[in-house]
Symmetry: C2
Subunit: 300 residues, 2 copies
C-alpha cells in the first residue's frame, strides 16, 4: 500500500473499521487536547507564552500544582505574635514638605531612558546602595519577593547580549507584529543592543513566585509581580539619584535562557533587565515630553 | 424512542450511520474547542478571574476583541520621525555618588507601611508634586498608561471605605483562605479600615489597558501593568520623601465598584489604593526587619 490508489479499495471494503478507527483517533486526540488545555490553565509553561504587547499575566501559583508539598502547610511567613511598636515620626515643616516634594519631582524629571553607554566602571559600593534602596519596597505580606542579579563580568554580559539579541531578532521580525514595531519606531530601537556589552553593569530584576527555606519548606509569596515592579520603581529612582542612567527593558521570551545562564532557581522569573552606567558622550534621546499633570491626575 | 432500550436496536441496525455521526460531532466539538482555546489565549475575560493571593494577571487586550475598531489600525503612539537630541548629562564626583546613593537608601529605609492616620490635612501643592514625580516613570513605548485619582472629599472616602470593607469582609472570611489570612496575622489587619476615612487623601493608582483619543481612535498600551507598578514605586517613594506616610493596598475584588464610584472609564482598572497623610500620634508598626543585602542581591 504505497500510494493512495492502492489504499482506496482497501478503505472502501473496510469502511466501517476505518470509521471506528477515525472515531477512536479523534476522541483520543480531543481528550488529550482537553487535558493539555486544563494543564495549561494550572501550569502555563514559562517558555510557551505567546509574545504580545500586553502584560504577561503569569500564574504565580502554577508551580505549586506540580509539587508534592502543599504550600498551605508551611508555617506563617512571619510570627503571628510579632510585637507592634510605636512608629517614630517627625513631621517636616510645611515649607520643607513643599521644597522636598518639588525638588524630588524636578530631579526625577531629568531622568531619561538611555541606550548608549560609556564603558566606564561604576564606583565600588554605589550599586550596593542602589539595590539596598530597592529592597526597602513594600511587598505582599512582607514577603520581599525579589532578587537583583548584578552582572559585571564581561563574558556573562556578552552571553546576555547574545541571548537577548537572538530573541529580539525574532520578536521584531515575527512576534511583536507591525503595530508594536511601528509604535517603537520613535525610539529607533531594534534587536541590536550594544549597550548590553558597553554598560559596566546589568541588573536583572527577578520576581520570586515562592521561596523554599533551608528545611525544604515552601512559602507562598503574595502579589509578587506588583511588589517586584514597585521595587523596580525604587531601583530605577535610586540609579538616577546616584548619578547613573539606565533603560528599563523586558527581555521578551529570553527569560528562561537568562535565568539558566545566571544559575537562578525556578521560583524566580526575569521581570526586567536594566543596563546601568554612565551615558556615552554622544548619547541621544528622542525629543519627547511627558504628559502634563492634568492628564495624569484626577482630584475628587 | 423514549428510552435507551428502544434506542438500542436502532443503533445496532444503523451503526455505520451512527458511527459517522459520532465522528462528525466529535470533530466539530474538537474544532470548536480548539478555536475557543485560541480565542482564550487572545481574549481571556476580565470577569472570569478567580480571586487568589497571586498577582491578578489581567489580560489587557481582552476588551479590544469586543470592540469593533482594530487598535492595530491606530496611528503610531508617537511620530516615527521624532527627532533625537543629545542627552545632556553631568557626572557627579565619585564621592558624591556614594553619599547620594547611601543617603537615599538610608532615607527610604525609614519608610514603613502605616495603617493609623491623623486627620490633619496635607499642605496644598504637595500631593501635586508627588503625582508629578510618579508621572516621570518609564513605560512601554512611552504610553504613560496611568491615572492617579486623588480623593479628598470625605463623602467619597466614606463610600470607598464602605466598598472596601464589604469586599474585605468576604476576602478574609472566604476568598483568601486560611493560609493567606494566617500569613497576614503579624500585621494585625482585618476587614475594618478606619484609615480610609481618617487619612486626608486616598490615591487610587489606575492602570490603563489602552486609551481612546478625542477622535475615538483606540491606542494599545504596552506593559501597562509593570509600567504602572513602577510608577507606583516612584509614587510611594515621593510620598515618603515629602514627609508623609502611606500603606500600599490592593483592594481585592473591589476594583470595579471603586472605578464606577470614581466615574473612571473602562480602559482603567484599579491597581493600588494608597491612603496618604500623617501617621496618628499612637501609630504602631509590626517589629519586623528587612532582608539584608546578601539575601536580595547576587553579583556575577
Amino acid at each position: 500500500m504505497s500510494s493512495f490508489q492502492e489504499l482506496a479499495p482497501f478503505l472502501a471494503a473496510n469502511w466501517p473499521i476505518v470509521c471506528v478507527a477515525v472515531v477512536v483517533i479523534a476522541l483520543v486526540y480531543f481528550l488529550s487536547m482537553k487535558s493539555e488545555k486544563q494543564k495549561e490553565k494550572l501550569t502555563p509553561k514559562e517558555n510557551t507564552k505567546i509574545p504580545s504587547p500586553q502584560d504577561k499575566g503569569e500564574h504565580p501559583l502554577s508551580e505549586f500544582a506540580e509539587e508534592k508539598q502543599d504550600p498551605n502547610e508551611a508555617p506563617p511567613l512571619h510570627d503571628a505574635n510579632t510585637a507592634h511598636v510605636l512608629f517614630k515620626f517627625e513631621r517636616l515643616p510645611e515649607k520643607e514638605m513643599m521644597t522636598r516634594s518639588r525638588d524630588f519631582y524636578e530631579n526625577l524629571n531629568q531622568r531619561r531612558s538611555i541606550r548608549f553607554f560609556s564603558k566606564d566602571l561604576i564606583p565600588e559600593g554605589v550599586l550596593e546602595n542602589i539595590v539596598r534602596a530597592a529592597g526597602t519596597a513594600p511587598s505582599g505580606a512582607h514577603s520581599e519577593p525579589w532578587t537583583f542579579v548584578v552582572v559585571r563580568d564581561p563574558k556573562i554580559k556578552l552571553q546576555i547580549r547574545e541571548i537577548v539579541e537572538q530573541e529580539e531578532f525574532t520578536n521584531y521580525e515575527r512576534r511583536m507584529g507591525d503595530k508594536w514595531v511601528q509604535d517603537l519606531q520613535f525610539v529607533k530601537t531594534d534587536h541590536v543592543k550594544p549597550y548590553l556589552e558597553d554598560a559596566p553593569a546589568i541588573i536583572l530584576v527577578m520576581k520570586q513566585q515562592y521561596h523554599i527555606d533551608e528545611n525544604n519548606v515552601k512559602y507562598p509569596h503574595y502579589y509578587f509581580e506588583i511588589s517586584t515592579a514597585i521595587a523596580a520603581g525604587m531601583l530605577i529612582t535610586a540609579i538616577h539619584v546616584a548619578g547613573l542612567v539606565t533603560v528599563t527593558t523586558t527581555p521578551l521570551n529570553a527569560g528562561v535562557a537568562l535565568r539558566e545562564l545566571l544559575g537562578r532557581p525556578s521560583n524566580e522569573k526575569v521581570m526586567l533587565l536594566l543596563p546601568v552606567g554612565y551615558p556615552a558622550d554622544d548619547a541621544t534621546v528622542p525629543d519627547i515630553t511627558r504628559k502634563p499633570l492634568d492628564k495624569i491626575v484626577v482630584f475628587k
